[in-house]
């Protein structure tokens, strides 16, 4: 499977940047969080190499106003990518995740605030509340 993940990332990037409807990108978006099936550095490096976190964040930025949070697969998929990245960072570093990872992924302060509100995150303390994230994603 490892050798295929690079190709999955390559075509995911291509479809996420394609001039097509966001709904048509959903399948690619939903695959991405699942590629982190292990804590392997190669997979994580490859994910970052294709700038998939930035592309996902950009899609989130473009579509947050259009798609109502909690009610679309799109929003959940994007959110899951970002939270998966952060969660993997958490596992990898074996310490509490800093919001800087999300800041890096989301790039826009307003979006970060929106996301934090949606996830009931306490960004004042610069820590993520994973229980809240899981509850939101399950919901």
């Amino acid at each position: 499977m490892l050798e295929h993940i690079e190709k999955i990332y390559f075509y995911s990037k291509k479809i996420l940047l394609a001039p097509i409807a966001i709904e048509d990108k959903l399948y690619a978006l939903q695959v991405l969080p699942k590629t982190f099936v292990t804590d392997q550095k190669e997979i994580r490096d490859s994910f970052y190499k294709y700038q998939l976190e930035q592309i996902s964040a950009e899609l989130l930025k473009q579509n947050l106003e259009v798609y109502k949070p909690h009610s679309t697969d799109l929003f959940n998929a994007l959110l899951q990518i970002i939270s998966t990245i952060a969660e993997q960072e958490y596992r990898y570093q074996n310490k509490n995740v800093e919001v800087s990872i999300l800041k890096e992924a989301i790039v826009n302060q307003q979006l970060l605030d929106n996301l934090a509100t949606l996830l009931h995150l306490d960004i004042q303390n610069e820590k993520l509340d994973w229980v809240s994230i899981e509850l939101i994603l399950v919901d």
Binding site: M1, I8, D24, Y27, V31, T35, T38, I43
Partner: protein, 188 residues
């Protein structure tokens, strides 16, 4: 519709006879038999008849030797059959996944698209993703992720890959590969 097919379709138990017409040497008869099956293969009784009568044998033959129109009709029949775990399981036992992988290499894009759709339905039907993974070619599936070739095919292939990644067997496989690589690096 061919008169023989029209007469047979009145009786659901005639599935066996319609299946045999797929083998007809007269192309029109075989084509009409396939069209008839497209229309009735969603019925539970027909699915059961096909399963009990080893229908896979009759259905798979045109997939190999039929023309493109015939292959498309057979794939439409398979789309109806693969929604059910028993039918899909029975067809897989006769090598359906292998046939679908062959068709994914075909040139008409319609055939590739329906083949990919069929595999995604097999996974939805409840067949083990590990079984499907072991009987399909991941290289072919990941090659079909290119939306510029065909967006619909790419979407089905993303869905298939997603099912594989959902499964715990994939995690085991990746971890095993990781430790093997590490082991080889250590002793290189």
């Amino acid at each position: 519709m061919d008169n023989r097919c029209r007469a047979l379709v009145c009786d659901l138990r005639a599935t066996k006879d319609i299946l045999r017409l797929l083998e007809s040497h007269e192309p029109d008869v075989a084509l009409n038999a396939a069209k008839t099956l497209v229309n009735i293969s969603h019925r539970d009784q027909v699915k059961e008849d096909i399963r009990l009568d080893n229908g896979a044998r009759f259905i798979f033959q045109p997939l190999e030797y039929g023309d493109d129109e015939m292959k498309l009709l057979i794939l439409m029949i398979l789309l109806n059959l693969c929604t059910d775990e028993n039918s899909a399981g029975s067809l897989c036992q006769y090598g359906l996944l292998n046939k679908l992988m062959m068709l994914m290499k075909s040139t008409p894009i319609d055939i590739q698209r329906l083949s990919a759709h069929c595999i995604s339905l097999i996974l939805d039907s409840g067949i083990s993703p590990e079984y499907v993974y072991n009987n399909t070619d991941m290289v072919e599936i990941t090659d079909s992720l290119d939306y510029e070739e065909d967006l619909e095919t790419a979407k089905y292939c993303f869905k298939i890959v997603s099912c594989f990644l959902d499964s715990t067997f994939t995690q085991r496989r990746v971890n095993l590969m990781f430790f093997l690589t590490l082991f080889l690096q250590l002793f290189a």
